[in-house]
């Protein structure tokens, strides 16, 4: 057991853990942020997706010892008030069904739009195919990503 300092959503957290513990369980059980979900444990489903230094990563497969003092963002840190264009689009298009995978979906989509503000359908396929939705909300996810992209590009051009 060792002490690790983590930078999550702009706040420092000191946790005591076995260094091999996946970041997922640290986020959920030690820090208490439960929006990040456990789905498969082997980086196949994307339910545990968080941002690590601006990249979308699967937190179930990254040991806590590897992320000390690096910038981690979870779904709770994406905005303070559900105001990220993706969150607004997700509500507008009524994307979630059970909702369990949606934190991961939104976190993957956020990195896609950051790197590619106007993604094509093919870009969305490439960026989002690591995230499973068993309820089958894919068509709405696609629509909502396009809608968020439009909103971001419009508000940029107004500036």
């Amino acid at each position: 057991m060792s002490q690790y300092t983590l930078d999550i959503n702009g706040k420092k957290h000191s946790v005591e853990a076995d260094g091999q513990t996946p970041l997922l369980w640290i986020i959920r059980d030690s820090v208490g942020l439960t929006g990040t979900k456990f789905g498969c444990g082997i980086a196949q489903c994307g339910a545990c997706t968080v941002h690590l230094n601006g990249n979308a990563v699967r937190s179930c497969s990254i040991p806590v010892s590897a992320v000390v003092n690096q910038e981690i963002t979870t779904i709770e840190g994406l905005s303070d008030d559900k105001s990220h264009p993706l969150q607004k689009a997700w509500i507008e298009h009524q994307v979630p069904q059970c909702g369990y995978c949606q934190s991961g979906q939104i976190m993957s989509a956020a990195i896609l739009l950051k790197n590619n503000p106007k993604p094509s359908d093919e870009d969305i396929d490439a960026a989002m195919q690591g995230n499973i939705c068993r309820c089958g909300t894919y068509q709405r996810i696609r629509k909502a990503i396009h809608a968020a992209s439009n909103e971001m590009n419009n508000s940029n051009s107004e500036r």
Binding site: D29, S103, Q139
Partner: protein
């Protein structure tokens, strides 16, 4: 999946704490179940302080309005749709109310999210409850103002005076309203006046699901909670021969290792539980555990043997479920005969949230926090398991991260109950994805054996569908009489659901015994039966050299709602417009859970095989509560139906499931998702189910399209699009 409780006494209501002061609380004097008639009660009448009961509507003096949702939300939208029934008649918007889930107490009646029954079961009683409360509030206002009731109306949580436009809030009226008689037959609104029902409604749970706020079972914690990861026999009824936990006990955080059990309805199986103060330690401890299993007699079960036994059973007559005319004779005499067998596999549900439950057993009480589809069933099972009164079991229903039938099978909850009792502490059991994938219960694998005879003009004169399958009710409840047909297993193919006009028909059920744990899986037997049924209808159409859609329409000409669905689908799918070469369409229709759904699937050839281009869908589910959500459910059913057709089966070797996680039990992903287009028939028929009926016709519409494209007939699921 529907259960009717016939033994309900007219009991007085139990006290429910939490409300002080006067309140108007409306509920029922008997638990209502699907189709049941309960009289509506003012639950204040014989109780002090207006403290309630089984109320589905609680209006407090402060103006706070609480509506109870008795149908757990697993993604199907009951958290909006069920309270909307009350809100419509009560004249409140859903933003004005707090929605709470029921807790499993008998007093709330049926609380099952299953069998696509939530709206069908609540449509009448909950609207009546809302209407009754509204009438009482109007009466209270009219006496206060000394005007006629007909000069008052309700809107947005207030009663208005039609002439002067003065108003009083519901909160200001509850004290008076609560003293009034409850109207026995409150007047329900005309559908044309609906403000919420039949309109695209925004689900109140969705904002909670975009920033991690929604609490699922996995997220719930209580102080002092212990975590359990359980090693269960990979063979379903294997026994623990011995285990070595010396390495497990060296894992920091591990508190105990103990023998445990998995209580399934048909048997208990043995397991070893690793208990820790955090979940990762429990997982690590389980990895370090050495268990030696005694596989017992089922260590030799394998899929090939299973399906071979079904093919042998198909030669027997089994139980005749239904017969009309003279099938044998007309089939034997028919100038053209067709005879094929279709096979559908065992499947896991694989909800994104693996099974998990937190239980705290104290002396003769038990409290549970878990994602479950039917808290009332669970209360029954826990009270029997612990031998305590049902009133002493409380279930806190969380949001469910998917379920599809799996979370109406409570082995995972009873494991937590078992461990909590042994350890005298709150215990949370979390299944791994490997546990979820490989341990069942599964959709039963089955075969459909079909025979059909055509006359010289290509009319179907004889038709037989024989279902050879394990019986869910037989395994779970031992409720199947020997030699009888299983009504569930014949789902969706009987004439009431599939009213093809054929003079001589016969439906048989042949029971296949199995010890593999089985259970309902989204749309239950319909998902399997309709594959064989609608594939065979297509084969008959081709054999009679008729267009498959026109062939169906001709045979459904006396079934107006089916016919109407196909007519709309013909137009919306552009069925009569020719496609470029390399593309083809297929059609299938089914009725399940009182809803008719038909799909046209368009497929194309590409470099690697076949691509699913588009699915156009038409549904007649009667009146809708939230059409946008009906579409969402159908989109989900199409995705799940395609997954079931073209991805992985659960297969068995040496008594063990061979699939373990999403790498070998694959599901459809966004890059494989076809374009989907949904059309809902507008009518004022009684609502049908919407959570499942979109699934059954997916696979046959797809394979029928592939036949039209390639001439290859697929009679076994799943298949690989790149190997057709």
């Amino acid at each position: 999946m529907e259960r009717v409780n016939n033994n309900l006494d007219r009991r007085k209501f139990l006290k429910m704490s939490g409300i002080t002061g006067a309140a108007l609380a409306i509920g029922f004097n008997i638990p209502f179940s699907n189709g049941g008639n309960a009289s509506i009660q003012n639950l204040n009448s014989d109780l002090p302080n207006g403290v309630t009961l089984n109320a589905f509507i609680i209006i407090e003096k402060t103006g706070k309005i609480t509506l109870i949702n008795p149908r757990p939300d697993m993604g199907q939208g009951s958290f909006q749709a069920v309270p909307a029934l009350i809100a419509e008649e009560l004249e409140v918007s859903l933003d004005q109310v707090e929605i709470k889930n029921s807790d499993g107490s008998k007093k709330y009646g049926s609380q099952l999210s299953g069998g696509s029954s939530s709206i069908r079961g609540s449509w009448e009683p909950l609207r009546k409850a809302g209407a009754a409360a509204k009438e009482m509030l109007i009466k209270a206002a009219s006496s206060k103002w000394k005007i006629k009731e007909s000069d008052c109306y309700a809107l947005e949580g207030k009663i208005f005076d039609k002439t002067s436009k003065r108003s009083l809030s519901y909160g200001a009226l509850v004290e008076e309203a609560a003293k009034l008689e409850v109207p026995e037959n409150p007047k329900l609104k005309e559908p044309k006046d609906f403000k919420l029902l039949g309109k695209d409604g925004k689900r109140p749970d969705i904002p909670l699901k975009v920033d991690g706020e929604a609490v699922f079972g996995l997220d719930y914690k209580v102080p002092g909670m212990l975590y359990a990861s359980i090693e269960r026999s990979p063979v379903f009824n294997g026994r623990v021969a011995k285990y070595d936990d010396s390495k497990t006990k060296q894992v920091k955080g591990v508190i105990a290792v103990l023998k445990c059990e998995r209580p399934m309805p048909h048997r208990k199986s043995e397991s070893v539980a690793v208990i820790a103060d955090n979940y990762f330690s429990a997982i690590q401890g389980r990895k370090a555990l050495q268990v030696t299993w005694d596989d017992g007699e089922f260590g030799n079960v394998d899929s090939e043997g299973f399906f071979e036994s079904l093919r042998n059973l198909a030669k027997s007559e089994g139980a005749v479920h239904h017969e009309k005319g003279e099938f044998e004779k007309t089939f034997n005499d028919a100038p053209k005969k067709l005879e094929f067998v279709y096979e559908t596999p065992f499947l896991a549900h694989a909800p994104m949230e693996p099974e998990n439950a937190l239980a705290h057993v104290k002396k003769a009480e038990c409290e549970i926090w878990a994602p479950v589809q039917g808290p009332d069933w669970l209360v029954d099972q826990v009270s029997k398991y612990l031998n305590i009164q049902p009133e002493k079991v409380k279930v806190n229903v969380t949001f469910l991260g998917g379920a599809f039938g799996r979370k109406a099978y409570y082995d995972y909850v009873l494991e937590a109950v078992h461990l909590s009792q042994k350890l005298n502490a709150p215990v949370k059991v979390i299944w791994s994805r490997e546990d979820d994938t490989s341990l069942g219960p599964f959709r039963p694998g089955l075969i459909s054996a079909l025979k059909g005879g055509l006359d010289l003009s290509g009319n179907v004169v004889a038709f037989q569908h024989k279902v050879v399958a394990p019986s869910i009710q037989h395994q779970l409840y031992k409720s199947l009489q020997s030699g009888k047909s299983d009504g569930w297993a014949m789902e969706a193919i009987e004439e009431k659901d599939s009213p093809y006009k054929i003079p001589n028909v016969k439906y048989n059920f042949v029971l296949a015994e199995t010890d593999i744990p089985i259970v309902w899986w989204r749309s239950v037997y319909a998902s399997s039966n309709i594959f064989g049924h609608e594939s065979f209808i297509d084969e008959l159409a081709h054999a009679s050299k008729k267009d498959p859609l026109k062939f169906r329409m001709e045979m459904l000409k006396d079934a107006p709602r089916h016919l109407n669905v196909l007519k709309i689908l013909e137009e919306k799918s552009g069925w009569n417009q020719s496609l470029p070469s390399g593309k083809a369409r297929g059609v299938a229709i089914s009725r399940s859970f009182e809803t008719i759904c038909a799909h046209v699937v368009t497929v194309s050839k590409n470099d690697s095989g076949i691509k699913i281009e588009k699915v156009v869908s038409v549904m007649d589910c009667g009146m809708t509560v939230n059409p946008d959500n009906v579409k969402a459910q159908t989109e989900g059913n199409i995705i799940m139906g395609i997954t079931a057709a073209i991805k992985d089966a659960i297969t068995f070797k040496s008594g063990r499931a061979e699939q373990t996680n999403f790498h070998n039990y694959r599901v459809l992903r966004i890059n494989e998702t076809p374009e989907m287009e949904m059309h809902i028939v507008q009518n004022f028929e009684k609502p049908g189910g919407v959570g499942e009926p979109g699934l059954p016709p997916v696979a046959p519409a797809l394979t029928n399209a592939i036949f039209n494209l390639t001439g290859k007939r697929i009679r076994k699921l799943p298949f690989n699009l790149n190997e057709v």
